[in-house]
């Protein structure tokens, strides 16, 4: 301690010194909230009766927080909070723009639906095994991935959600679940490792991991740094996560094995995290390279759509068919990313949000159908319409929504995507989009015809008196109503989504929020 008389350090060069507005805490609150509740549930591991109410209330709280966050972002533009008040690019920034807030809100709605359904689906042994703590920690990872403004931090949240999802996918420890979990785990670990290596490569080229900083420096480095390689590697890594062709095979091989509610959450959340990361990195950080790669992405998207929908057409198991439909939806989103521009990116974001809601609802509906008909297989599911007409109506609406028929939520993003594709002259991509919609209608129509309208042969199709609890039916109904509401009155969401896409294409507001005083 020799230099006791050294001048006081200039803290303003390194630290955030002005007080933080309470509203800015909404940026970090979704993650901290989920972590705290998840930790609480781990501590209360013996009190398994307390788990469901705490978790469902916690998820409802998460929805409220995410609504407030979206309102805050709508009112005042992108919001940043740096951890430990170290200034970016050194402090890890959480930066929320419209895209992140929209995805986070939709994810929390999906999680709340799943949490409600789990009241009817997860028995005592599932609770003892830790379904609810895993669910809360999964949501911490998903929220963190949507809200972070640092690419290495994004990787960390990927790991958090991956580890929680491993816990969820083996819930029940049946033979075929382990089989599905191995395929899922292996492919996802490969993708995550590729993501990590690419991030290291990116750091070597840019010397920064802060997304705003990368976006700012990308233009100046385009001559010297290997940006095309970086972009291609990121597209491959996130494409694997999102189950895009040709790395899509893990999804249909694993998503039909876990509990219905787990499949529903995975379909709604996990592939969409991959898509979100792809949109964030290619559209906002490396836009020039995305343009260069757009044909490859478009081709991958078109093939993903066709492989998905043709695979779905060949299935006779409800959940396997849905797995292929998830893949096909990813293809539509990729098409939007490839086309670019406000229409393409806006359409991609809109389609992703729609797909989160509707695919979750469809998986939950498959669970209800299996309760009513005692099977997931088309050969023995029959007469659901006669058993429960209200549920059949909900299923039909969801089938319309996933096929992109009006007046449901799938229609508008499809219109945006087709129009954007035609605008840039990619008529073949528009044709594939429309063909996929048509084939999806056939897929869901075939299912509806066989599982719902076909009459029950004697001694087939499970007990005639099977009933479903309100907890199982309510989330399906709520998500269907949401899909219908978005389809009937899309203007607010359309304008928000277009603003979100514009904010990604021209991220000056995002940059300003991270570096308020301009360049450091």
């Amino acid at each position: 301690m020799a230099a006791t008389t050294s001048p006081p350090a200039d803290l303003s060069a390194a630290l955030v010194l002005e007080p933080v507005a309470s509203a800015d805490w909404l940026v970090i609150l979704p993650v901290a909230w989920c972590l705290a509740i998840g930790a609480l549930l781990v501590m209360l591991r013996r009190k398994i009766d307390w788990h469901p109410p705490i978790a469902v209330l916690g998820l409802a709280g998460l929805v409220v927080i995410d609504i407030l966050l979206l309102r805050h972002v709508l009112a005042s533009g992108p919001v940043t909070m740096v951890m430990g008040r170290w200034l970016p690019p050194f402090g890890i920034a959480f930066t929320v723009d419209l895209t992140g807030a929209l995805f986070a809100l939709t994810a929390s709605v999906v999680a709340l639906a799943g949490g409600t359904y789990s009241l009817a689906d997860i028995n005592d042994s599932g609770r003892r095994y830790g379904f609810y703590p895993f669910l809360m920690l999964l949501m911490a990872g998903v929220s963190g991935a949507f809200l972070t403004g640092d690419i290495f931090n994004l990787y960390v949240w990927f790991e958090v959600l991956l580890i929680s999802s491993f816990g969820l996918i083996v819930l029940g420890s049946e033979r075929e679940q382990i089989d599905g979990a191995v395929k899922y785990g292996f492919l996802n670990l490969v993708a995550t490792t590729l993501f990590l290596i690419t991030t290291g490569y990116l750091y070597a080229s840019f010397g920064t991991l802060n997304m705003a900083d990368i976006a700012r420096k990308a233009e100046g480095l385009s001559g010297t740094a290997p940006l095309m390689t970086l972009t291609a590697l990121f597209v491959l890594a996130f494409g694997m996560k999102a189950a895009a062709f040709p790395v899509n095979f893990w999804l249909p091989a694993s998503y039909h094995t876990p509990r219905v509610v787990v499949s529903a959450l995975f379909a709604g959340l996990l592939t969409k995290v991959g898509i979100y990361a792809l949109i964030r990195v290619t559209v906002m950080l490396l836009p020039v390279e995305r343009e260069e790669l757009s044909f490859v992405i478009a081709l991958a998207g078109a093939l993903t759509m066709l492989v998905g929908v043709l695979g779905a057409l060949a299935q006779s198991d409800f959940r396997r068919m849905l797995g292929y439909l998830v893949v096909s939806g990813i293809g539509s989103i990729l098409a939007g990313v490839a086309v670019g521009g406000p229409g393409g990116i806006g359409g991609a974001i809109f389609y992703a949000l729609h797909s989160m809601l509707v695919m979750t609802a469809l998986y939950l509906a498959s669970g209800v159908a299996a309760r009513l008909g005692d099977s997931f297989s088309l050969s023995s599911l029959a007469g659901l319409y006669r058993r429960h007409a209200g549920f059949a109506a909900l299923s039909l609406m969801l089938a319309f929504a996933v096929s992109g028929l009006p007046p449901f939520s799938g229609f508008w993003p499809k219109v945006m995507l087709v129009k954007a594709a035609l605008d840039i002259g990619a008529w073949w991509l528009a044709a594939v989009l429309l063909l996929t919609g048509f084939l999806t209608t056939i897929v869901t129509g075939r299912f509806f015809l066989l599982a719902y309208w076909r009459d029950v042969a004697s001694g087939e199709g499970g007990p005639a008196s099977a009933t479903v609890s309100v907890a199982a039916l309510l989330p399906v109904a709520a998500l269907t109503v949401l899909a219908l509401a978005i389809g009937l009155y899309p203007e607010p969401l359309l304008s928000v989504v277009q603003n979100a896409a514009a904010g990604l294409a021209e991220p000056s507001a995002y940059l300003n929020s991270v570096f308020p005083g301009g360049a450091p």
């Binding site: 955030v16 805490w25 901290a32 705290a36 930790a39 781990v42 591991r45 013996r46 951890m83 430990g84």
Partner: protein, 139 residues
């Protein structure tokens, strides 16, 4: 394990190592050490005790289930970050207070609380794995 010497020494060794792990944890703010490495030392201590005297003894000695300890640690770490709401500074900012206890100034901070959380998470998670492996070792 059957060795009499090992079984006689293990409790002393364990208590010494746990004490040392807490020393490493508290020292870690400004010098080498901290929650992670301290937690690993504590788990090694529990593992030695488990090998010498049986897993059941360890479970009784730590009283709480290892996963509950890990949960408490995660909770403590999250709370440590959230305390900064009250001070109107960003998440996870280190905040210090210097109460004096018996005429001695004791620096306390949210950073220490976070580090204790990390310690508990490591102790809970790794000992949970170690104890179940030891249990299924088959004797």
């Amino acid at each position: 394990m059957k060795s009499v010497i090992f079984r006689a020494v293990a409790p002393f060794l364990t208590s010494l190592m746990v004490l040392f792990s807490i020393f490493v944890l508290l020292r870690g703010h400004n010098e080498p050490g901290g929650g992670f490495i301290g937690g690993l030392i504590a788990v090694s201590a529990l593992a030695i005790y488990g090998i010498a005297c049986g897993v059941e003894m360890v479970r009784r000695a730590i009283y709480f289930h290892p996963m509950a300890i890990a949960g408490a640690g995660l909770f403590a770490a999250t709370v440590a970050g959230l305390i900064s709401i009250a001070a109107r500074v960003p998440f996870m900012t280190g905040l210090w207070i210097y109460p004096s206890v018996l005429g001695l100034e004791v620096p306390l901070s949210t950073v220490t609380l976070f580090d204790c959380g990390v310690y508990l998470v490591v102790v809970g998670a790794i000992s949970s794995i170690a104890l179940s492996l030891e249990e299924r070792g088959g004797e």
